[in-house]
Amino acid sequence: MSEDTDLPAPRSRFAAWLTRSGDRMLSLKLWDSRVVRWMAMLVATALFGLVVTVPLDLYEQLGFAATGFIVAMVLSKTGSRLGTLAMMVLSVAASLRYMYWRVTETLGFETWVDSFFGTGLLLAEMYALIVLLLGYFQTAWPLDRKPVPMPPDMSTWPTVDVFIPTYNEPLEVVKQTVFTALALDWPVDKVKVFVLDDGRRDEFRAFCEDVGVGYVTRDNNRHAKAGNINAALQVTDGEFVAIFDCDHVPTRSFLQVTMGWFMRDDKLAMLQTPHYFFSPDPFEKNLETFRAIPNEGELFYGLIQDGNDLWNATFFCGSCAVIRRGPLLEVGGIAVETVTEDAHTALKLNRLSYNTAYLAIPQAAGLATESLSGHIGQRIRWARGMAQICRVDNPLLGRGLKLGQRLCYLNAMLHFFYGLPRLIFLTAPLSFLLFGAHIFQASALMITAFALPHILHASITNSRIQGRFRHSFWNEVYETVLAWYILRPVVVAFINPKLGKFNVTAKGGVIDESYFDWTIARPYIILLLLNMVGFGVGAAILFNGGSIEPITVVINLFWTFYNMVIASASIAVASENKQIRLAPRVAARLPSTVRFSNGRTIACETQDFSQTGLGLTLPADMEVPLGEKVQVSIFRNREEGVFPAVVVFNRNNRLGVHFENLNVKQQVELAQLTFARADTWANAWGNGVRDTPLTALKTVVRIGFRGFGLFFKHLYSMATAPRHTRRASAPKLDTGDK
């Protein structure tokens, strides 16, 4: 087993020795024997069963837990995937041991109140445990697929139709995608671009005719995006279909990078690439963590899809993917039974024993949803759709799937049921602090001795597996923000999968002033207030003494405090920062030149680019009048594009220019030199700061305190503001399930 480049190098000579020993053990000849493998498996399973079930008293358990944790810490210093797998085994052992003890020793409830809250917590814990186990299974060995080069003979390359479905997005947004699609490096006679306009807008038709791309409409909007694509499949004939949401701009290398695998694997029906966002999502924008902390989507595209790929269970994600037309038609086109038509389509392809693949190289980039309400609306759709699939086409049932595929799809679905468990965890200590319920029939020390290893092992193991793509404690923040909102749609869809409609995610907009979204924040505020009350009551109990074990109160106070931090952090997310530019800028240093109207030139580089202009860093302060007309060159190796522009900003060596009257050819060229550059997004992918749990905890606590402060600030300004200046109507969350 070779070193995993995903992981940091072993940090000591002992760790390096351990890494090598593990590799040597694995390369032993005796593993080639099936008998030896089965025997080893049998013995290991028996020992594992013993570890999970053997009863120990408090001190024995403490000793056992400490030993296990020390071993895990040592393993976390090694540099191989074997080390990761061993950590997973330890974590699973600690968690199962906890759950076994929990079920056998802690459930002797005495009152109805106890058993109501106690059972609720137990069920939530069981859910979390199952998701933890499935998560380990899913990400045990990310495949890390590499691109396959296309054969040199271009006459063998297949034909590709590029679909850009749109419904109500502004033309300016769609234009950029069309221009970059036209810039794709592929034989001109083998690629066709189609705009699929469900809005049937005249300006779109005119634009498509102008630039010479296909314009496809239909006479109804049935099944939204899925129906739109299916209608286009009827009138097109390329061997492959590449699909881009209208705000995802592909790089010019997209097809060359993705198509190689289709040439090698005849059964490959779908290949997905990451969704990469060049603008901050509401978390990143409102918490100011853009590019500093991995965002919510990075775990999925960085790790989970790569893990799915090992099990041949990569999901289609609706955009930035290529599908082979034949198999797609075989499953009846894009699935229309659920609102997550993309994942469902992949499931259907897998059922017909077609392969699906994932290539973790960003070959397209898009705009993130700009407001929290929009973000939540999108996640509600995903949650609802997954619950629908769970009902109408359950991956555990039916033909055609391998066990690994069933479990990966199952985890994807179960994942969205976190709403209720998360709310239970956020309120569980209150049942004791407020109602005096004893939901845990065990001494505080015993609980600590069993629960702490379970939590700590899961935490350090996940930090190792997910470190590049999700920082510790952020899961809680991301889930808490959504928990309340996805709870009802998931339950509704699970009971009746026919309810609910597809809601389109609005993007590329402007938030013209900062505001606090009271509507969205309501559940977090309630959670915060409840936990504050609980904390107050708990503190009072502690100071007044009494018959209750102080250590029990302290543990509950800690838990409550943690919940307050998470709830406050969620409140911080609802404090919307303003977003000024319609066309977001992408930070990038590209070589360029400005040619002034007198012919003089200055070689410089860009600071950022957008669809409409450039920010340039000049080597020295220069006198440039605003409004001066210039020619700006952008270079890419030997290529040079020259674009007319006008100076709109000049201060401190920074020159801002706005493009003027670019014709279609220039627009395509601009796209080629900026958004479509093959290396633009790949360089930033997965290169963020690796997780260290303590740093992550500090960050989350800091954000929690900020959210706490913001809440009272907004409360104060609302109370003191004259009535008529209050925001007339906060944007109403469209959950799409009315």
Partner: protein, 257 residues
């Protein structure tokens, strides 16, 4: 001694400017640079701030049987310049006849300078076939063909390549030839197309794209190299890049005495 001949099939492509500026740029990279003017226009000296009254040069020295070392002038940047020299028509004809009769004249003259292996000699030549170009081509280890991004210049390139084939490629001490495209203006579609065609045809052989830039001619009027006159303009950037490529190219070229 690494000998670089700067040539072109057509006049007016800015060959002398390219020679002078590349000499200075190579000098700024730390090389010891000699630049010899083999063009009877005797214009190279103006790029190095040599007085118009100065008459000495390699033509006069050769006719008088004096060594080249006598003709050397040092430019402010440290490039050692050997001007063509001022001669009358009769002397020029005599000089050219001399070159015609002695094909190894240039080589032996350069050898008398006693240069180190790493010293660089740039040779400026008149446009089109001539005795000067023949001497330069038969001596150089690297040939740089200067051209403009227009159809007329592009059309002359096969002829230039033919000369390189004839005089250079079979010599053991010859290393390679490359192209510099001068006065590039990619805002003009035709120029852009020609650059694209050249890029496609010559690929890595193109070691420099020098943008059209008013600073280049202004610099000459101020008796300066554009490298000093306008440090930040695009042309300066281009010459610096080109010198870097050239410097890498000659690293292993022409280790012969």
């Amino acid at each position: 001694m690494k000998i670089i001949a700067i040539v072109s099939a057509k006049g007016g492509v800015g060959k002398t400017t390219v020679t002078a500026t590349l000499s200075t740029a190579l000098r700024y990279r730390g090389h010891t640079v000699f630049t010899a003017d083999l063009d009877p226009q005797n214009a190279l000296r103006f790029h190095f701030g040599i007085s118009p009254q100065e008459i000495k040069g390699i033509s006069r020295a050769s006719l008088a049987g004096q060594p080249w070392a006598e003709t050397c002038c040092q430019s402010p940047s440290g490039v050692i310049v050997m001007p063509y020299g001022s001669v009358n028509e009769a002397d020029r004809e005599a000089f050219e006849n001399h070159l015609d009769a002695n094909p190894t004249w240039l080589r032996s003259q350069l050898d008398t300078l006693g240069l180190d292996d790493d010293d660089i000699v740039l040779l400026d030549t008149p446009p089109g076939p001539s005795v000067y170009m023949r001497q330069a081509l038969t001596t150089a280890s690297v040939v740089v063909i200067v051209t403009l991004p227009d159809a007329a210049s592009y059309a002359t390139l096969p002829m230039m390549e033919g000369l390189v084939q004839t005089y250079c490629t079979r010599r053991a001490d010859f290393s390679s030839y490359s192209y510099v495209i001068n006065q590039v203006d990619n805002s003009r579609q035709l120029a852009k197309d020609v650059v694209q065609v050249m890029n496609a045809n010559f690929g890595e052989r193109i070691i420099g794209l020098i943008h059209q830039d008013p600073s280049v001619s202004e610099a000459l009027a101020y008796d300066k190299s554009v490298l000093d006159y306008d440090v930040r303009c695009q042309a300066t950037q281009d010459f610096v890049n080109c010198a870097e490529r050239l410097s890498a190219l000659i690293q292993y070229a022409g280790h012969t005495q």
